[in-house]
Each structure stands twice: as structure tokens, then as C-alpha cells.
Symmetry: C2
Subunit: 329 residues, 2 copies
């Protein structure tokens, strides 16, 4: 794809600060890169936002008369609104009008739009949500982060393949290691389902074996495979515990004049550290198993996070991730 520009379709109506921050972030991304961006949403509103900036031919608008709201039931809203911004953005990927689509809106709606309008890679049993986590050794990919509560062994095996392809594209790793989240290292540990999954995954390139809960923050493996129920609990626990520890540190530092002084001296280092460890900073979740690149950013994303999301989407779209998945399934 060296001479063709990467084209990203954006659900410009999705997100807590849409369309204002989404358009601003898109402008920044177009300004800093040679990515072409198609803003999908209500034309009038988007034109009004775009008029704030110097004209940039890399930014175009595709009119979408409706949008899926945060409160709506995702699957039915996507079906009922085929011309919503998220649906039209997904359809652009199907039609070849875009190389990836990204939404900062309702996660369920983005997933439904991807399922309905783009469809799965041939052979994929269940698409999964993958996220990137900060670890002691940099970053790891975790999947499934919540798309499928129950996962059979063959589904978990496919997650290993898809997660590995994503880690190559996202983290630039040549041969990512893959671990199965379990209650012990030995192949004989865990539920029947996990034992079977372990056996099936032995055939997957880079399979490390079982990992345990404490391996997550250590970054023992590049790709962490688990069912969506476990993944959801792991992510929310990690975010919650991390924020609880930092809030306790704030309290400890405000206990006396001495600790307050120390707190001032450490302010900058702690802000950096907090950002490094912030699970939300990694923002984007990707839907793996879909026959296109579909990314869901955090609903609270402002311009900078939107810009980063677009750059990540473009990076993934420029790699052979989909072919890599199809080939290794």
C-alpha cells in the first residue's frame, strides 16, 4: 500500500464529545499524516465544524441522516437505522470505500454494524474484542475483552491466532508469544474447557502455555487469551484497582506538610506514571474476526485521543492482518 493512501471512515456522530472533538481530532490526523479521512455523519453539523479549519482535501464528508444514541439497544438500533453514521461508516469498509472504520460511540452499535455490514473472515467462529494493556515489559494484547461470555475451546484457539496477528500489526512484533489465562502453569490445570483449549492451542505459533493472573501485569506473554467474561472482569478490576491505589497515594501524600511537599516534588513523575499505567490511555479496542478493520475508541475521547485512534487504525489497515488471520485459522 505504499503509493495508495490509507482511507479511514469515521463515525463522526459517535462519542461524548462528537462531532466537535471528533472533527478536530480528524483534522489533526489529516494535518499530520497523509491519511484520507471520511467523516460520516450529519452533513450540516460536520460542515459547520470543518469550517473552523483551513481546507484540507484529505477530509471529506459522507452524509448520514441518523445516528445511534448511547441509550439505544445497539443491535436493534443498527438494524433499524441502516443510514446511521456508524452503519454507513461500516458499509464504506465493505464497499472498499475505506480501509478501516472507527467509532467513539456505543461499543455495541459499532460491533453490530461491523457484524451486520462487514461480516466475518471466512472460518471465524466468533469475533472477539481485543485491547492493549500496559505491562512491566511494555504492552500486551488481551482478548476477548467482552464480546463473548462463554467460549468453547476451538473459539479460544482462534482467539490465539487472531490475537497473534493483531500483536504483529499493532505492537510490531515478529513472533508474539501467546498465553492462555488459567489457574496454574501445568496443562492439567483449570476447567475442562481450559484443558481442552490448552491442548488445541499447542498447535498455535508462539504458544507459551498457561499463564496466571499475576502474569498479566508482568507482561509474561504478548497475547493473553481468555473468554469474554474473564476478560471483562480482568479489565475492570485492573482499571479499578489501579485508580484506587493512586487515590490512596493522593490521600497518603496529603496527610502532613512534609508529605505534601514530597507530593509536589513528585507531581510530574506521578502524572507520567499514572498515564503510562492508565488502561484507558490505550483506548482503542479492535474487533477481530471481522473481514475489515473495525476499531472502537473510548467514548470520552477528545481530539488528541481521536487523532491517535485514527493513526492506530491506519497503522493496522496498512498491515496484512486480515490475511494473516485467514491464513492461520
Amino acid at each position: 500500500m505504499s503509493d495508495t493512501k490509507i482511507r479511514i471512515a469515521i463515525d463522526a456522530m459517535g462519542g461524548d464529545f462528537a462531532p466537535l472533538e471528533v472533527v478536530k481530532g480528524s483534522f489533526l490526523a489529516a494535518f499530520e499524516s497523509d491519511i484520507e479521512i471520511i467523516l460520516v455523519g450529519k452533513e450540516d453539523e460536520l460542515k459547520g465544524e470543518l469550517d473552523k479549519y483551513d481546507p484540507n482535501p484529505a477530509l471529506t464528508i459522507l452524509d448520514a441522516p441518523s445516528a445511534v444514541e448511547m441509550g439505544e439497544s445497539p443491535a436493534s438500533a443498527v438494524k433499524a437505522k441502516p443510514n446511521s453514521s456508524v452503519s454507513l461508516a461500516a458499509k464504506l469498509v465493505l464497499d472498499g470505500g475505506a480501509d478501516a472504520f472507527i467509532s467513539f460511540g456505543n461499543t455495541g452499535a459499532a460491533m453490530s454494524a461491523a457484524f451486520l455490514h462487514i461480516g466475518r473472515i471466512s472460518g471465524v467462529l466468533r469475533p472477539a474484542i481485543a485491547v492493549t494493556l500496559p505491562t512491566a515489559r511494555g504492552a500486551s494484547v488481551l482478548l476477548d475483552a467482552g464480546a463473548n461470555t462463554d467460549c468453547k475451546p476451538d473459539v479460544l484457539k482462534q482467539f490465539a491466532v487472531m490475537g497473534s496477528a493483531y500483536a504483529k500489526a499493532m505492537l510490531g512484533l515478529k513472533s508474539p508469544t501467546v498465553g492462555l489465562l488459567n489457574v496454574g502453569e501445568e496443562a492439567s490445570k483449570g476447567s475442562e474447557r481450559l484443558k481442552e483449549a490448552h491442548a488445541l492451542m499447542s498447535g498455535v505459533e508462539g504458544f507459551y502455555g498457561n499463564i496466571e493472573g499475576d502474569d498479566i501485569a508482568k507482561g509474561t506473554v504478548d497475547v493473553i487469551v481468555c473468554d469474554g467474561q474473564t476478560g471483562n472482569i480482568v479489565l475492570k478490576l485492573a482499571e479499578g484497582l489501579s485508580s484506587e491505589i493512586f487515590s490512596r497515594i493522593r490521600i497518603a501524600m496529603s496527610s502532613s506538610l512534609t508529605t505534601r511537599l514530597a507530593g509536589l516534588l513528585l507531581k510530574k513523575s506521578f502524572q507520567d506514571l499514572k498515564r503510562e499505567l492508565d488502561y484507558e490511555e490505550y483506548g482503542g479496542a479492535i474487533l477481530l474476526g471481522i473481514n475489515g478493520v473495525a476499531i472502537v475508541g473510548h467514548g470520552k475521547s477528545k481530539a488528541k485521543a481521536v487523532k491517535n485512534g485514527i493513526l492506530v487504525a491506519a497503522k493496522i489497515a496498512s498491515k496484512n492482518m486480515l490475511a494473516d488471520i485467514e491464513q492461520h485459522l
Copy 2:
């Protein structure tokens, strides 16, 4: 039990620092309280350790010719060694010679000894391991921490009853709240198993409903119910992430002269905080569903932790926890 003294049987050969630190901790507990302690283990060795202290009639020795070692397969070792220290300590509870037993050795061996020699409370489907966790609101009980990988809905419901009885005895709560760890608040969330468990648990006193991963550190409920696979992953993730964050803080504080100075000023506060948040500080895990009080302390326990473990065991033994469980099952 106001005029009868509480008697605790201790597997004095279990633990990384046994018998030295176990005997020292037992001496401290007997010195500070009116608990009677039966040290179970190799008589010669225990006598040698006890001779270091002033005589205390509250400390007696029961000779056990063998011990289960850390490397042994727990269940078979307990069966093969009916006169091991852990087995004889458990038998004392069955025979009425002790009100509780505690081991700082092999967790699996202590569990096996409790199953084999004490047995379950009538009606209990599966005993569970409960632990106490630090939270923003103090402490919560989590079960199952790893005894049962898979748990059917009726088993999870029993965990709610047992966890509630333990929270009353351990945390002194009159009517503990109980949450089911799941992927969303609504009753319709999660796997089929969790949906059924939610429905069954609605009948349990104090049932709060589903909680999510971020509710754990917040302390939203007093008792967190999950299967042993999830519980194991949750505990290890929490310990691992917590220790990773503190190690990153250490690194951040050593980056410059200024941050090193600040680090010195904060040393005491941070040590206190780390201890408060240390999942291992709460040490003791209890086997719930066993027809007796059976506690497993951390293998690395030194005298102070041993003493605390004994005091906790005595506290639990002085309550009506077993009757409370039987009545509410």
C-alpha cells in the same frame, strides 16, 4: 463460650519457617490472650523450640511422627500419612479436642485434611476457600478463591450463604451485603450459569445483585461470590498489579535527586499504604463448608503473622459461624 477457653490446634510443622516461627508465634498468642494452643508436630523439635520461652501451661504438644512436605501431592500425602501433623491437627477438631485448626503449610494438604478428617457441614455441596481483601471501604470477603474451578448455580448460591456467615464472624458485620461477580449490573448479564446463579441468590439475605470487576477495589459489597477459577485469577491479578505499581513508583522516585528526596520524605507513608493494600497481609484463607474451623495461613508467615492467624482462628471459633451456615443453607 464465655467461660470455656478457645483451643486451637496448630500444624506446627507447616510453613517455610516451621517450626521455629510457628512456635514463637504460638507462644506470643498464648502470652497475649487466654487461648489454649496445641502444637501438633515432632515432639522433640517442638520441645526444643518451646524451651526457649518461659513455661506457659496454655501451650501443649501433640506428637505427630510425620509431616506433609511442600512438594508432595496433597491429597495422596494426607491419605498416606494419617499421623502427619496436619492430619492430627484436623482430627483434633473432629474429636472435639480443638475448636479450630490452622496450618501455614501446603494449602492443598490442609484442605485435604479438613475434607478427609472433619468432613462437610450437612447439605454443603462444595466447600470453598474464602479470603479477606483490602478495599476502599475496609475489607471484603471473596470466595471461592480457588477450591473449585467450575461452579454450578446452586453451588454459587451456597457460597453466598457461607460467605455471609464468614463476613459476620470475621468482619463483625450484622448484615453483610453479597454480590455476584459478573460482567454487568443487570440480572440478564453474563453466562447462563451466572444468570441462573443470580436468580437463585435473590433469595439470600443481603443479596445486592451483580457487581463488576471495578467494584472489587471499591468495596461495593462485603462478600464477593465467584467460581474458583475467576477467584484465583482475580487474586493473582490484584496482587501482581499492586506490586507492579509499587515497583514502578520506586523506579519513578529514584529518577532524580529531587524525586529521591521526596521518596525519603514519603517512605513511612508509603510503607504503611503498601502494607494496608497488601493482599498477603490478610494472610489467612478459611475453608468454608467444613464442619469445623479450618484456616490456612501464608507459607511465608513469621511469628507475628502466626500470632495474628491464631487470634483470627480463635475469633471465628468463638462465633456461631457453622450453625449460621447450616441454618441458612
